[in-house]
Symmetry: C2
Subunit: 329 residues, 2 copies
DNA sequence: AATTAAACTGTAAGCGCTTTCAAAATTTAA
DNA sequence: TTAAATTTTGAAAGCGCTTACAGTTTAATT
């Protein structure tokens, strides 16, 4: 069933059909009603390809995340999807696993599909090849980077000030009397980079000793935190507090600490990041940095929509996190 | 830059351009090479609308989940996306919040966008209105239901035998000497329905007493489990084991049990469902039913692809779960 | 060298829609 | 009642691609 069939049945031209479908005002009430009845009757849905060919928009945006199974990305993606859905857009979701080539392939595919915009969530720090691809693509499609940054035409960033978030943790722990603080870094993203910097700054600012051993590179996930503590103990390193780049890493650390019969927070304080449900599941409940995931998701959508509608948009938006204090500190 | 521009530049016809883009064999090596060079040079990407208009396929499928922030749905969606990506398809993700009308709206939108197929993850049990919409839509688009079932033309199901999964838990607990077992049900999906049935069957099979209080309806999430235990205690109900419909619910229950200084598993045994990362984060680590999420996701993609390629597909596929035993029992 | 077959390329139609421009119908003004 | 202004409608072009069919070139066969 297409526009021609409908036109024939209604005894009008295809132009008229098109007009009522698109709510153009210059159609008489009478014909509008007649056409609408026929549309209803056939439960007609216009062909998006044909329409897209003319309009050049599919009302679709692409979202690239690293791995949707990670609650952080899931929440960002969820928020974006819900917000865009309100605006009549749908989102194509891509899981890149953080792989640059995969990202580029996805971007190319999305370009072919003529998405109206692109949101990249979580970028590797200073990925030259990717950045080139992004600036290239941005010539045709507006791009928003969530927790990533790139100076280029038609690309916009919205980031959480993760650096400040971690610095806040250091301040807080310092006030509680902690001197030997360890930071567990678990990724090499733009965001992870910021966190490390925030840690260093926080330590220095409070005149705490920052050694090359203060920052520990660990694997993602439970095991990362678990093995980190193991390592700290075998190396006989002194520490009274641990800050982890993600809640799950913190929980892994807690697990090992408990096995070693350390009391939390009496012997060792632990702080996580993301303020996810895991922080609440943890025993003891985990103090964690709330990095405002929903705010960021909503912001990303807003930015893109503003661009669509020709409004002026700052190329960088920064959101301030805050510390949620629970039982682990 | 379109096919005409390219044709002019290459000194060939648009048909030839199209042929090399689509790897048709009947193009001479010489012209193929020449055209490819020009394609490269302009970094040309064909217009998917125009192509879709002819081919009637966008190489896109729609996935409806309840809430991607739930790890279960995230994992299903992730698996589906990755598998389809290998086949050259992209997926449009929709979060319905379990709302029937929203589901129907999404389905209509996806139909307009001419998705090649649809996967519905997690259906409410016996939702008449939705089922009607599904059978209607399936006339045009093949639909796969994950953990849902509907007898209709062109709709296929892949489900985990959740009923058996819970029955297994009962068997296991019975062998461990438990008699008073409580089941915490937290949803009204097809899957939740199956779980309750499995519980009842398991209890009866083992000649255990099944009272109306054996099955407790609780809210989703941590609090559901927490309040459930609270309720059991205030009602002075006798129980030595709890089976929860989801890991997070089990963790909530554990939390309250600990507050009441109950030893787990010595005083009370607890079992979760989904075998998610939460089961590993829990302290003690949670025994949980592995409902084979990846297997199901891969299966769903396979089914849809088989349909696309005209192969014969059974209308119902059942996957058997298994019990992962950890420290909580 | 002439004929036939095979390989390659081009023309043109059509996918289903939006939109411009002109024509027809209606309303308003004179 | 007629002319002018306004509202409503329709014809046709074009969006960028695929593909059937016809035409042209090249290779193979006699």
């Amino acid at each position: 069933m297409n526009i021609y069939d409908l036109a024939r049945e209604a005894g009008v031209s295809i132009a008229t059909i098109s007009r009522v479908i698109n709510n153009h005002p210059q159609v008489s009430e009478k014909t509008r009603k007649k056409v609408n009845e026929i549309l209803e009757k056939h439960n007609y849905t216009p062909n998006a390809f044909a329409r897209g060919l003319v309009i050049k928009s599919m009302k679709t945006i692409g979202v690239l995340t690293i791995d949707i199974r990670d609650l952080y990305y899931a929440t960002v993606a969820y928020t974006i999807e819900q917000e865009f859905s309100k605006l009549g857009y749908s989102v194509i979701l891509c899981n890149t696993g953080g792989n640059t080539q995969k990202k580029i392939n996805y971007m190319k595919m999305l370009a072919e599909k003529n998405v109206d915009g692109l949101i990249l969530v979580g970028s590797v720090f200073k990925d030259k090849k990717l950045n080139k691809a992004i600036s290239q693509l941005a010539k045709n499609i507006p791009i928003v980077m969530v927790n990533g940054f790139l100076e280029a035409e038609n690309v916009y960033s919205i980031i959480c000030d993760d650096s400040y978030g971690i610095a806040m943790c250091v301040d807080y722990l310092y006030k509680k009397g902690h001197k030997d603080i360890i930071y567990l870094q678990d990724a090499k993203t733009y965001s992870a980079q910021a966190k490390s910097e925030g840690f260093s700054h926080g330590m220095i600012k409070n005149n705490l000793v920052l050694t090359p051993f203060s920052i520990l590179n660990v694997k993602k996930g439970l095991k990362g935190g678990y093995h980190a503590v193991e390592h700290l103990i075998t190396c006989k390193q002194n520490f009274s507090a641990i800050i982890a780049g993600e809640d799950i890493t913190a929980v892994g650390a807690i697990k090992k600490l408990k096995e070693l019969h350390k009391q939390i927070p009496e012997n060792i304080a632990v702080i996580g990041f993301n303020n996810s449900i895991i922080a609440q599941c943890s025993d003891p409940e985990l103090t964690s940095v709330d990095n405002k995931i929903e705010t960021i998701g909503i912001g990303a959508v807003r930015i893109l929509n503003d661009v669509f509608e020709g409004r002026n948009v700052p190329s960088k938006t920064v959101i301030t996190p805050n510390l949620v204090i629970r039982k682990s500190t």
